[in-house]
């Protein structure tokens, strides 16, 4: 295989950026999501932070998959997206249900069950 062919076939990012950087990038995104879960009280925003975590995972999987030319990683991402969609529908239904009952979705108020 000629070096030229390689340059044509392989995406430039893969040639230039070490895989490690994707790992670091995804981890950063993941932890930002975690911090979001920790700091917010609005149930919807907490939920969105969780989506952020899932997307970090997606990015990581796609990076691994692309660098290794292994499609299974990307298939997994496909599943994660599908599952996330299902989860969102249920999650929002729960949030709406709670809003109906107590007119707020502040998780700080929901601490009647304890000890």
């Amino acid at each position: 295989m000629q070096p030229n062919d390689v340059a044509v076939n392989i995406p430039e990012v893969i040639q230039q950026i070490p895989l490690n950087y994707y790992l670091i990038f995804s981890t950063a995104l993941f932890v930002i999501g975690i911090i979001g879960v920790l700091t917010r009280r609005n149930a919807i925003i907490i939920f969105m932070s969780i989506e952020l975590m899932l997307n970090a995972v997606n990015t990581l999987l796609i990076a691994f998959s692309s660098y290794r030319s292994d499609p299974t990683g990307q298939v997994f991402v496909f599943f994660i997206m599908a599952v996330a969609a299902a989860e969102v529908s249920v999650g929002l239904a729960i949030i709406v249900m709670i809003y109906r009952n107590i007119r707020t979705i502040d998780v700080g108020v929901l601490n009647k069950l304890k000890w």
Binding site: V107, L110, N111, K114, W115
Partner: protein, 644 residues
């Protein structure tokens, strides 16, 4: 009947009684409850007799009968099987025989109680577990019986649990027994991992070839002994037994005197091969045993509750049994188990009869002169007292003497201490007898009016046990008195493996007959002297222990003609002993309470922390989760191992 069938029937019969009385509680008519409850143990006793015949016909060969393949743990298979040998036969005899008598007694004692059927059911269940304990051919079955009897004891102590102190007593018994069970269970697991089996025969065979005092054997025996300490009320786990007297008296007699508490001794004798291989453990047992015997006896000197005196006496006698085991005198220990079962059951049942007559009065300061109104109780109680005091030729004399003789071979200091204990035993037992049955009646008029001898169902067991207490000692009369040591010969095959494994332990210099006779006469003499002292004090001088609240002043005593001997006794004996006893007792209580309280405190405070973490706030939950993830990663990944 085949031994196989008999083995199944023996535990099954009490279990049937439990099922009928338990499931049919409040439905079975009262008259039938007693019959059903009694039928189990009595039939089981008959089966034991038949089994004994079988066993004897087979030249005392060990009978092993496997009922079914029980459970497999990894590569190990545990069978549900029974093992019949000399030890099992003896225990079976005691458990079913005395069990039957006490069931009979309970019919008279409890039939007015609201929970009569429940009581009989529990008693039957207890018997079932006790039989399982002694019949099993491996440690797991023994453990199941062990836990089961603990459970029944817990239920029966708290039987009248309207009273909170009863409940506390039950809980205390429970906690202490649990500590013991922990040791036992760990011992079993160590046995499993070491020998790959829990079957007695397999384990003991493998032990024979090992080194004496090998660390693993020491570990196992110490763990097992912790179990025995809990069940058989040795220091520091002994205070539950006196408190357990909160239960109905037949329970005290059956569980807390005759059978369950001797399970610890049974276990040591059963595992004698293991213990013989660990002389160090035996020394520890001996030390703890003598301390327990003396401490309990000294406390017993000053108790005024009739059942408490007997309870401390039980603890003290259990100490003697372990003392014998500590000197590797397994036969002597078992012998004392048997005779003690006779006379202690007798004493408890007698005490029950007194309490019954006195309308639930238990304080001996309010009794006195009962000998006329309760003649049968009095005479049988007298027999029991003589037996426990060790006055020849009653049962206690032979068994206690045998222990003391073996201890003498082992260590003269221990023997002297043992003798001191036996002197105390004689004193407090006669004190109890005299205060209860002699002198003037000190109770209320109402009680006096109510005094009556107990019904036949209660006196009959008393009489039978009295006879046994008189003749029980003759099963093992030492040669020096012209006997044959029948029991020793009978039990001898049990210890073959132990002798083979550690011959040095059994090579003690046998006493010559002269020394032996001397020892006997000393201990008998001491017992008689103490009985006389008690007579002088409590019958001639009619001393009555002061009520707890009242402090006697000297002038008062002079005015009321209390003789100087009383004062002398008070100053020179009562006060120091009471002080010592109190000190010991409170020390024991303190240590135990500190441990129990400390555990409770740490449980409570950690529960407080845990509960505070469970604040209901999602934010905190997630924060704690992330924090723990961070900690796990920090601790697991950031050490030299990973980054080298």
């Amino acid at each position: 009947m085949s031994p196989h069938l008999l083995c199944i029937l023996i535990p099954l019969l009490p279990l049937l009684g439990f099922v009928v009385n338990g499931l049919g509680f409040r439905k079975v008519p009262t008259s039938l409850v007693g019959i059903v409850g009694l039928a189990g143990p009595v039939l089981a006793f008959l089966c034991v007799c038949l089994l004994w015949g079988n066993f004897h016909a087979g030249n005392d060969a060990v009978i092993k009968t496997t009922l079914f393949d029980w459970i497999s743990v990894g590569e190990m298979h545990i069978n549900f099987s029974f093992q019949i040998d000399q030890l099992t036969m003896l225990m079976l005899g005691i458990v079913t025989g005395i069990g039957s008598l006490i069931h009979l007694y309970s019919i008279g004692y409890m039939n007015h109680d609201e929970g009569y059927g429940k009581f009989m059911a529990f008693l039957n269940l207890f018997l079932f577990f006790m039989l399982l304990l002694v019949l099993g051919s491996n440690f797991v079955i023994m453990f199941i019986g062990w836990e089961g009897v603990g459970l029944c004891s817990y239920l029966l102590i708290g039987f009248w649990n309207t009273n909170t102190s009863y409940n506390n007593a039950a809980r205390k018994a429970f906690v202490m027994n649990r500590i013991g069970d922990l040791g036992f269970l760990l011992g079993i697991f160590t046995i499993m991992t070491t020998f790959g089996s829990v079957e007695y025969t397999d384990v003991f065979e493998q032990v024979v070839g090992m080194d004496v005092n090998a660390p693993v054997i020491l570990t196992i025996t110490l763990l097992l002994f912790v179990g025995a300490m809990g069940k058989s009320a040795q220091i520091p786990l002994f205070t539950w037994l006196p408190d357990a007297m909160a239960g109905p008296t037949p329970v005290s007699a059956l569980i807390h005197a005759a059978t369950m508490v001797t399970a610890g001794i049974y276990m040591v004798v059963r595992a004698n091969v293991l213990f013989s291989m660990a002389p160090l453990t035996l020394d520890i047992i001996g030390g703890i045993a003598i301390a327990t015997a003396l401490l309990a006896a000294s406390i017993g000197l000053l108790q005024n509750d009739i059942k408490k005196v007997l309870a401390y006496s039980t603890v003290s006698q259990l100490g003697y049994m372990f003392l014998g085991l500590g000197a590797a005198a397994y036969t002597a220990g078992m012998f004392h188990v048997i005779t003690h079962a006779f006379f202690k059951a007798l004493l408890f049942l007698g005490a029950g009869s007194v309490i019954h007559a006195m309308s639930n009065e238990q304080d001996i300061r309010n009794m006195g002169g009962l000998r006329k109104s309760l003649p049968i109780t009095y005479w049988t109680f007298l027999v029991g007292t003589i037996a426990i005091a060790g006055i020849p030729p009653f049962a206690g004399f032979f068994s206690k003497d045998e222990i003391l003789a073996h201890v003498y071979e082992h260590s003269k200091v221990l023997w002297a201490l043992g003798l001191l204990g036996s002197a105390m035993t004689s004193f407090y037992m006669f004190r109890l007898l005299f205060l209860t049955f002699f002198g003037e009646f000190r109770g209320t008029d109402e009680q006096k009016h109510h005094l009556h001898e107990s019904p036949l169902s209660m006196t009959l067991p008393l009489l039978v046990l009295a006879v046994l207490s008189v003749v029980g000692g003759f099963m093992n009369v030492p040669e020096v008195l012209g006997g044959h040591s029948v029991l020793a010969e009978f039990m001898s095959p049990l210890f073959d493996q132990a002798r083979q494994a550690n011959p040095a332990l059994f090579e003690a210099n046998a006493l010559d007959h002269g020394t032996e006779l001397m020892l006997m006469s000393i201990s008998a003499g001491v017992a008689i002297v103490m009985a006389v002292v008690a007579y002088v004090m409590y019958v001639r001088n009619a001393a009555v222990p002061a009520p707890d609240s009242q402090v006697r002043s000297l002038p008062q005593q002079v005015v009321y003609g209390k003789y100087y001997i009383d004062d002398f006794y008070d100053r020179l004996i009562v006060r120091p002993v009471r002080g010592l006893g109190d000190a010991f007792y409170s020390l024991g209580e303190f240590v135990i309470d500190a441990v129990v309280g400390g555990v409770a405190w740490s449980v409570r405070s950690s529960a407080g922390v845990f509960r505070r973490a469970q604040s209901g706030s999602i934010g905190l939950y997630v924060l704690l989760m992330v924090l723990s993830i961070t900690l796990f990663i920090a601790l697991r990944f950031f050490n030299w191992k990973v980054f080298n």
